[in-house]
């Protein structure tokens, strides 16, 4: 009796957290997404909000664009993050290792808004990079680096780097050096060792890092808004517009739900493609 009581007491924060902050809001969101406005203060139940997503090319184009850019950002983060993680896990020693880790953490000591404004100061036409290039005589006039998809990419990769590096360092750390040496010793080139030994071993870390980065990029709002150009469309922006500027909470809720489902589908497809399971990657990462 007593034992069981203690068990439930321990479980309570989790249940409250899951229930109050995740499950109940999602049920609410789902119910809202099913109501269709007939006229002011009169609603009906229906799927119109969902069919609107597929009926309006703008909406699913925006989603496709967001997903594609998030995938690219994830790939880029992996390509940049892997050597960093490899260096931290396998080559750096003691103090240097800790320093590198802190450097990865550093951007998170300020808020996302400040980080993004930092990039704006660097990239804008009258900004640091453009001025430096002019000063060096590499360009004759100012260059605008901001307000395009490349700027969004830079912002997303920068924001996500830590979430890629940490799981990678963890898995690479667990790879015994003798495997790498054996790979060389038996005639493997650096590339072969990387492809046949290091990457297969790091796969769970790669996959879990990619899932986190993909979800973070997909759900990012500030970076695409502030760094993106006039053509930049981001799905979260659509949701915000539906909720806030168009007062169409029903449509916004449907978009929210679709984002949840579609992104889960993409992650699922990614797991299938790489032959991983969620429990394996999350357990390891």
């Amino acid at each position: 009796m007593n034992h069981r009581f203690g068990f439930y007491l321990l479980l309570a924060p989790l249940v409250v957290w899951l229930g109050a902050l995740i499950i109940i809001p999602h049920i609410d969101l789902f119910l809202t997404s099913l109501s269709v406005k007939v006229r002011p203060r009169v609603y009906e139940i229906g799927l119109d909000n969902y069919t609107a997503f597929f009926g309006e090319p703008l909406y699913w184009n925006t989603f496709a664009r967001t997903a594609l850019m998030s995938v690219s950002a994830t790939a880029l983060t992996l390509i940049i993050g892997f050597p960093i993680a490899y260096y931290i896990a396998k080559l750096a020693q003691g103090r240097l290792r800790a320093t590198l880790f802190v450097l990865c953490l550093l951007p998170f000591w300020v808020s996302e808004l400040v980080r993004t404004f930092g990039w704006m100061i660097l990239l804008r036409e009258t900004g640091v990079v453009s001025s430096a290039l002019q000063w060096l005589g590499l360009t004759s006039g100012p260059i605008e680096f901001l307000y395009n998809d490349a700027a969004i990419m830079v912002g997303l990769v920068y924001t996500s780097m830590l979430f890629m590096v940490v799981p990678l360092v963890t898995t690479l750390d667990s790879l015994d050096n003798s495997y790498i040496e054996a790979g060389y010793d038996l005639g493997g080139s650096s590339f072969a060792v990387l492809r046949e030994i290091v990457i297969p071993h790091a796969k769970p870390g790669i996959v879990s890092g990619c899932i986190i980065v993909f979800m973070l990029s997909l759900g990012n709002y500030l970076t695409p808004i502030l760094l993106g150009g006039k053509d930049s469309l981001w799905f979260t922006q659509q949701i915000y517009a539906q909720f806030i500027t168009r007062f169409n909470w029903e449509q916004g809720s449907a978009f929210g739900f679709l984002l949840l489902i579609l992104s889960s589908l993409i992650v699922w497809a990614g797991l299938k493609l790489t032959g991983q399971t969620l429990s394996k990657t999350v357990g390891q990462g």
């Binding site: 015994d176 003798s178 495997y179 040496e181 054996a182 790979g183 060389y184 010793d185 038996l186 005639g187 493997g188 080139s189 072969a192 046949e196 030994i197 297969p200 071993h201």
Partner: protein, 354 residues
């Protein structure tokens, strides 16, 4: 050849030649530099000075993945993400060999190490002994000039280790590849090797066949490290050709042979193997031996064939380790009983200290 790490000299002026096709062991305590030496041969480390020649050609400029030298790692380092056949075929794939040839060679190698048809098993599914064989097959399938083995038996239990010693020797014989085996376990080195190098503090103390190391140690370190010995400290009292008489601290006198040049008054250490000591219940039987004394049994350390006696000499009070002869005569020996014991001067090695 020499290797230094910052201030520390790990391998100091080691010079050796290993005949092709032999089983060569490097025996030494941990930290003696034997792993460093092995890694230099494998190519993971560059010697600070000196050269490494394989079949007469220097390999200093050859990176590890191009050297005809392969290594069996201490923990084997079998790739867990591949099955047995993929592990064995890894090196062949790197050489760009056609798929069918690889399959044939891999199965061939597995047959030769006694694991036919195990190719599709995961590494986690096979036993420790089988892993050893896969690790060796993975190297030997590449026909290396030299196979390096870094204490690969360390992780096995005693019984399997004994078995694998024999197995390894057999494999080496079969493949006729040069094996360089490093270990801190003297029995592994002695059993398997054609020649053994005893290494200490970055230097080779003595290189030779196992028997030579055991019967004719050239240095105090070898005498102490290889096999067990009774040891006395003393001073040379008399010299007759290579025969010396030593006075020990307990004022006993021991006759023996000098392992090197010495003169009267030198401080020496005297070594006698427990199995060189003869035992008798009747003192007169040992009168002919150069060293003989009476004493009593302090304790019997029974361990089957390797049983020992601890006896105390009556005159000097020295405690001496004696191998218990398994002839049946001494099976009822017990602590407190009187015994006589003695050994020949030829079995007594005297080393000058310093």
């Amino acid at each position: 050849m020499r290797k230094t790490f910052a201030e520390f000299v790990a391998v100091d002026d080691v010079d050796l030649a290993i005949p092709s096709g032999s089983f060569f062991s490097i025996l030494g305590p941990s930290g003696c530099g034997k792993t460093t030496l092995l890694r230099m041969i494998a190519g993971f480390l560059q010697p600070t000075s000196g050269d490494i020649l394989i079949k007469g050609h220097s390999v200093l400029d050859v990176p590890p993945n191009k050297r005809a030298v392969n290594m069996v790692f201490q923990h084997l380092a079998l790739f867990p993400m591949m099955n047995v056949a993929e592990n064995v075929g890894y090196g062949l794939r790197r050489r760009g060999m056609p798929r069918e040839d690889i399959a044939k060679k891999v199965e061939d190698a597995l047959v030769r190490v006694g694991l036919p048809g195990s190719g599709t098993k995961r590494i986690s599914q096979i036993s420790g002994g089988q892993k050893q064989r896969v690790a060796i097959a993975r190297c030997l399938v590449l026909d290396p000039d030299v196979l390096l083995l870094d204490e690969p038996l360390g992780a096995l239990d005693l019984k399997l280790r004994e078995h694998m010693k024999v197995e390894l020797k057999k494999l080496q014989h079969e493949f006729e590849t040069t094996f360089i085996y490093i270990t801190h376990d003297q029995s592994e080195a002695l059993v398997m090797s054609d020649r053994v190098a005893v290494m200490n503090a970055g230097r080779f103390e003595q290189v030779g066949p196992a028997q030579e190391l055991y019967y004719q140690p050239k240095t105090i370190f070898v005498a102490e490290f290889v096999g067990d010995s009774n040891k006395w400290r003393g001073r040379v009292a008399a010299i007759d050709q290579n025969r010396v008489t030593v006075t020990t601290a307990q004022s006993g006198r021991i006759s023996g042979v000098a392992a090197g040049p010495c003169s009267i008054g030198d401080d020496v250490e005297v070594f006698v193997r427990p199995e060189a000591v003869a035992l008798s219940r009747d003192g007169s039987a040992l009168q002919t031996m150069a060293n003989h004394m009476d004493g009593e049994v302090v304790s019997v350390l029974f361990n089957g064939a390797a049983s020992r006696l601890l006896v105390r000499a009556r005159e000097t009070g020295d405690e001496i380790d004696v191998a218990l002869p398994q002839t049946g005569e001494f099976n009822d020996l017990q602590a407190g009983q009187s015994v006589s014991f003695g050994w020949s001067d030829a079995q007594t090695k005297c080393f000058v200290i310093g």
